[in-house]
């Protein structure tokens, strides 16, 4: 079993239901369904209040589901007992069971990880070991919090670049109990060892979070903390094999961002982030886009979000703000990844639009094909521009940091069946594997666009063939450098599929050419 399936866009395609899923618990699995629409929505929108960093107590606590009165032998805490100065309130350690328990290793904790030093921000203060108040009546578990920063980044596929962002997410949750609950549920789920041992607590946290979250959404009185809960719920639903629910949360997330005017939609339906969108929301917006693209794996019709307008300045803003100092060299690459995702969205919506145009009675088949080719060529030019940017950024990275990249693998070119493949492989000698992955995504976009223009297998047009050959070389180099992928290989598999589609039965062209010439 591959441990990194959860980050793989091909995870749903693999249909490996034994991996992840709903952990068995004595509590029933929460439905996680949230109603994002209301029949009186239009009326209520007139009195919409969207606040940021609201520190007041949430309304609607009476609608909270009835949880247990005690958790084991632990007394309950109330959200109202917020101790903002972190002053110990429990008296002396000798007669306080909680202070004594802090010296004990929690059941199910991950021993090797505990030896790592806590996260130290610039102030030198270990934020993750500060005792923020419990979300309401559940105990605080300090020793698990740092998972949020250390594991979440890897889980969401940003490869150890945004640890501080999840740290801030955690601190923000001090003002939004539902977010605390969702974060704690998330943390208990993503660690494989805790997934079973902490399943009950995970379920309870979700049970606790959902009613107040629903209340805030129903009354259109949500803040940034509430909005941030939604992509996390979407991921949980996705890993619980409930794809429809995950999509529902993504739609809800999108609507909430529109409602809060952090997203703007133009008359053509394209959406762009506003300049006022907080950095943390920007990051989670990109996280949500990645999940949306997972739904579109081999199924472009299944993607939820409308076409995206690229805003590289916004991407650079949140990346610069959150990126760890040791990873600062990856800033340009991360911006390019965001751009690639936007291009992917463009290619997907081009595919959908093309189907509509071909079915439309407004155009003759020849006219429709002409329009499709014109639009497709524009997209191809943009994708080629993106490829140049990737190669340029790769060159700059190599010049600045000079990473060690194994070159032995280029000696053995035997695996390549043709000379074309061998020629391309040499060009990847000095390209870091992260840029190679980006190149693969870029080449997939080219093939997708050409297949949309000309929905037929084979090496026509030439751009498609070149892209397919580059994918093969990139995949080979990637596989040699990283035999055991640190994250899911779904995108690489998808790329191989499109490359294979390009090489499909070229003999058919011999049969079809006379027909084309006759036509």
């Amino acid at each position: 079993m591959i441990t990194n399936c959860a980050t793989c866009p091909a995870w749903a395609v693999c249909k490996n239901t034994n991996h992840l899923g709903v952990p068995p618990s004595k509590y029933s699995a929460p439905s996680m369904v949230i109603q994002y629409e209301d029949e009186n929505e239009s009326r209520k929108s007139e009195r919409t209040q969207v606040t940021r960093y609201s520190s007041r107590s949430p309304t609607g606590s009476s609608r909270m589901s009835a949880g247990p009165e005690t958790i084991g032998q632990n007394p309950l805490e109330l959200w109202q007992n917020v101790n903002t100065n972190h002053v110990p309130l429990y008296g002396r350690k000798a007669n306080n069971i909680f202070m004594q328990m802090q010296d004990q290793t929690l059941l199910g904790s991950f021993e090797p990880m505990e030896e790592e030093p806590p996260f130290l921000p610039e102030s030198g203060r270990p934020l993750f070991y500060l005792s923020l108040p419990a979300p309401d009546d559940l105990p605080v578990e300090d020793t698990r919090r740092w998972f949020l920063s250390t594991r979440m980044d890897a889980f969401l596929g940003f490869q150890d670049c945004f640890t501080s962002a999840y740290n801030r997410l955690y601190l923000l949750s001090a003002f939004t109990p539902p977010l605390r609950h969702i974060l704690l549920a998330f943390v208990k789920y993503i660690n494989q060892r805790d997934r079973l041992s902490e399943a009950d607590a995970c379920m309870l946290h979700i049970h606790k979070a959902l009613p107040s979250l629903q209340h805030a959404i129903t009354n259109l009185n949500f803040d940034e903390g509430h909005i941030l809960c939604i992509p996390l719920l979407a991921y949980l639903a996705f890993w619980w094999n409930n794809e429809q629910l995950a999509k529902s949360h993504l739609r809800g997330f999108y609507k909430m961002l529109l409602q809060a005017q952090f997203l703007q939609q133009d008359r053509q339906g394209k959406i762009a982030v506003s300049k006022d969108m907080p950095s943390l929301l920007l990051l989670m917006w990109r996280v949500a886009i990645r999940l949306d693209h997972s739904f579109g794996f081999l199924r472009p019709d299944d993607e939820i979000f409308p076409p995206l307008v690229s805003n590289l300045d916004a991407s650079r803003r949140y990346i610069t703000e959150f990126i760890a100092s040791r990873a600062a060299g990856w800033t340009d690459w991360l911006v390019l990844v965001d751009e690639l995702e936007d291009i992917h969205s463009l290619a997907v919506h081009f595919n959908r639009r093309t189907e509509q145009v071909r079915r439309s009675n407004t155009y003759t088949p020849v006219e429709a094909q002409t329009y499709i080719e014109q639009a497709g060529n524009k997209i191809i030019r943009r994708i080629e521009g993106s490829k140049i940017s990737i190669l340029s950024a790769s060159k700059e990275y190599h010049t600045r940091f000079g990473p060690y990249l194994s070159t032995n693998l280029y000696v053995d070119l035997q695996p390549f069946p043709t000379a074309e493949l061998s020629t391309y492989a040499a060009s990847l000698r000095t390209v870091h594997h992260r840029f190679i992955e980006s190149l693969i995504s870029n080449r997939v976009c080219i093939i997708c666009t050409t297949v949309t223009i000309n929905p037929r297998a084979g090496p026509n047009p030439p751009e498609r063939l070149a892209a397919a050959i580059e994918i093969c070389c990139a995949f080979y180099v990637l596989k040699k450098r990283m035999p055991f992928a640190t994250h899911g290989r779904g995108r690489a598999l998808e790329a191989l599929m499109f490359a294979g589609y390009t090489f499909c039965n070229a003999n058919n062209l011999l049969r079809t050419f006379p027909c084309v010439l006759r036509g």
Binding site: M1, I2, C8, A10, W11, V13, C14, K15, N16, L298, R299, P300, D301, N351, P415, F416, P417, T418, E420, L421, V451, P455, R456, A457, G458, P459, A468, I469, C472, F475, Y476, K479, R489, G490, L493, E494, L496, M497, F498, A499, G500, Y501, T502, F503, C504, N505, A506, N507, N508, L509, L510, F513, P514, L517, R518
Partner: protein
């Protein structure tokens, strides 16, 4: 006409593409052996595309053929 096509479109070109196609199928087999069960589905999908070049992978997925 067929002769003209052979001139424009050498047989070696088709042979190369066939070899590359087989290379990709082998890569997908290797990937499935190390645990990516989805690689088998993609491999099967490509086999169908080989026989049905008028269909796109999306058509096959949408029609639940794979």
């Amino acid at each position: 006409m067929r002769i003209i096509c052979f001139v424009l479109f050498p047989v070696s070109f088709a042979a190369n593409r066939t070899a590359e196609f087989q290379w990709i199928q082998n890569q997908l087999s290797e990937e499935s052996e190390v645990g990516h069960s989805g690689a088998w589905r993609i491999r099967d999908l490509l086999s169908i595309c080989w026989e049905n070049p008028n269909l796109t992978p999306w058509d096959l997925i949408k029609a639940d053929i794979i």
